[in-house]
């Protein structure tokens, strides 16, 4: 295997997974939440490369998280793998259904319609007592094929493994004809249709991929946090946060979301510690700086360094 992205992902996530055992808990937690969110960012990256931005992917983040909580409360499912599979299945089905509508829209209409769907879920959740209303639900600690280890290290390793598998699969996908259709559709839909491929189908497939990855991110975050709630997981601010981290990371590589998401996690923590009442200003200023000086996101720094070493 000579692919530099795959080698980089393997080394990077491998070192983090092992290193997580030795670093202080607070840092492992930062990596855990950062890498879990990175899955959603990979999904948004696939859409972004197609020229589409979703302002409503908290819909899938929330669906994934709430699937885990509801499986836990109603069915007593604690196994992390079953919870993850359940969340991916539910978000996949909803992604397929909504995809039939969203694949017909572009630009701001796509973004706003995505937002509208996510706000419908938010409305349902906060108004329904049986779904936890504004408080949400606690989520019990996950088990791993019968084992119930202390602490969150096993979950962190699972997040690293799921992150690696997803990133490598999406990377291979982007090298395939279907993956190349991302740029092709963004550049010229007419030409794609006149080459005999359905643009609607191409967008639909990418939308479902991003939905499932975001669902997995929500499920893993719910298990890491031990809690689900509508405000931090389904509200429009959660969708905005995903778009924020996508821009911060940059679309250059499937490895970028892991770096961008971890830096966002650290930035948010330190900014709120340092300036509890103005941390949003620091985060916003960072985004402005990235847009002005690094339009390719943080990844462009890494890409420059890698090119320099060639």
């Amino acid at each position: 295997m000579r692919d530099r992205t795959v080698i980089g992902l393997t080394l990077g996530l491998g070192i983090c997974a092992i290193g997580g055992y030795f670093v202080p808990d607070w840092f492992m937690n930062q990596m855990m939440f950062g890498f879990a969110r990175a899955l959603a960012i990979i999904g948004l990256l696939v859409l972004w490369r197609t020229g589409l931005v979703s302002f409503g992917h908290a819909l899938y983040f929330g669906l994934g998280a709430y699937t885990v909580a509801l499986m836990d409360i109603n069915l007593g499912v604690t196994d992390a793998f079953v919870r993850l599979a359940g969340a991916m299945l539910v978000t996949g089905i909803i992604g397929v259904l909504l995809g039939y509508i969203l694949r017909n829209y572009r630009d701001i209409f796509f973004a706003m319609l995505s937002l509208a769907f996510s706000m419908v879920l938010y409305g349902i959740l906060v108004k329904t007592e049986a779904l936890g209303s504004t408080d949400g639900f606690p989520v019990s600690a996950p088990t791993f094929m019968g084992a119930a280890p202390e602490g969150k290290y096993y979950l962190f390793v699972l997040i690293c493994v799921v992150g690696w598998v997803s990133a490598v699969l999406v990377h291979s996908y982007l090298q395939s004809t279907l993956g190349r259709l991302t740029t092709a559709v963004r550049d010229n839909e007419i030409r794609v249709e006149y080459l005999g491929y359905s643009v609607a189908r191409a967008i639909h497939i990418k939308y479902v991929i991003s939905a499932v990855l975001t669902g997995a991110a929500g499920a893993l975050t719910a298990m890491a946090l031990g809690q689900v709630d509508p405000d931090s997981m389904v509200n429009w601010t959660a969708s905005g946060e995903l778009v924020f981290v996508t821009i911060l990371s940059g679309p250059g590589s499937v490895a970028a979301p892991f770096i961008g998401s971890l830096i966002f996690e650290l930035l948010r923590t330190y900014a709120s510690e340092w300036a509890p009442h103005a941390w949003q200003m620091i985060v916003g200023g960072t985004l402005l700086a990235v847009i002005f000086f690094l339009p390719g996101g943080l990844w462009s720094i890494a890409a420059r360094a890698l090119r320099g070493r060639k």
Partner: protein, 258 residues
């Protein structure tokens, strides 16, 4: 000896509200023909091409290709059936290089079933890509981004991409528009040589009568949405109606600097 037409257009009509853009068009096309479509601006030429290639749905009438009804089918199904086209404004992937444009086009044309999941950079596609670049004389531009190309090279790339699906009929909308007078015959020679080698039937819209005289075996002239002449070029270009409604207008266009 009569041969079954490869394309049969019967009573094709298209209205946009009160405006009739195409009126009762009946055309049979035999395999191997090279047909020039002429007419003043707004005569219905592009409307006709748009209807045959699925870009516009006809209001009435039928289009049969190789005996199958393709009336109103969307572009991708028309392409899959074996009809391809180019546009007056070249439709290429602007942020990709010439090589990546062609490779992407080849991969999409070869994406049936699980092929869509194969890596795009596979030897057989790369080899076909090199051959196509050479056939259309654009190898030297392989690493240039499509948005930086001259009109002529862009047209060649556009037509090369339209040909990757191996169509039996190719419709070209003004293949030399925007190309300089010095370049136009070179470009047309490259296009026609490549298309002849692929034995593809060609219909192309053209305003330049020199090109019509030199390259086509049949001329179809449009005026106000109707076919007013369907003859070999030597007869069509002296036809009184063509002279009055098409060539006269073209001459007017030229003298007006259009």
């Amino acid at each position: 000896m009569t041969t079954t037409p490869i394309l049969q257009v019967k009573n094709l009509q298209k209205s946009f509200g009160a405006v009739i853009a195409a009126k009762d068009i009946c055309i049979d096309v035999s395999a191997g023909e090279v047909i020039g479509i002429i007419g003043a601006n707004g005569a219905g030429k592009t409307t006709f091409v748009n209807m045959v290639t699925g870009y516009l749905k006809p209001s009435s009438g039928t289009i049969e290709f190789e005996g199958r009804d393709i009336t109103g089918k969307p572009p991708r199904l028309v392409t899959q059936a074996g009809i391809s086209r180019s546009f007056q404004v070249s439709q290429v992937f602007t942020t990709m290089t010439v090589y990546d444009n062609l490779l992407t086009a080849l991969a999409i044309a070869d994406s049936a079933g699980l092929n869509a999941l194969l890596p795009i950079k596979r030897p057989e596609l790369q080899q076909r890509c090199e051959e196509t670049l050479a056939r259309y004389h654009i190898s030297e531009h392989r690493d240039s981004e499509a948005s930086t190309l001259s009109q002529g090279v862009r047209k060649l790339l556009d037509i090369a991409m339209a040909m990757v699906s191996k169509p039996r009929i190719l419709l070209l909308d003004e293949p030399t528009s925007g190309v300089s007078a010095e370049e136009k015959f070179d470009i047309m020679d490259i296009i026609m040589d490549a298309l002849k080698a692929d034995k593809v039937t060609v219909l192309f819209i053209e305003h330049d009568m020199e090109i019509i005289e030199r390259y086509v075996s049949r001329v179809i002239a449009f005026y106000q949405g109707e076919v007013i002449c369907d003859e070999p070029p030597e007869q069509a270009l002296v036809d009184p109606k063509v002279r009055e409604f098409v060539i006269g207008t073209e001459h007017h266009r030229e003298t007006q600097g259009a």
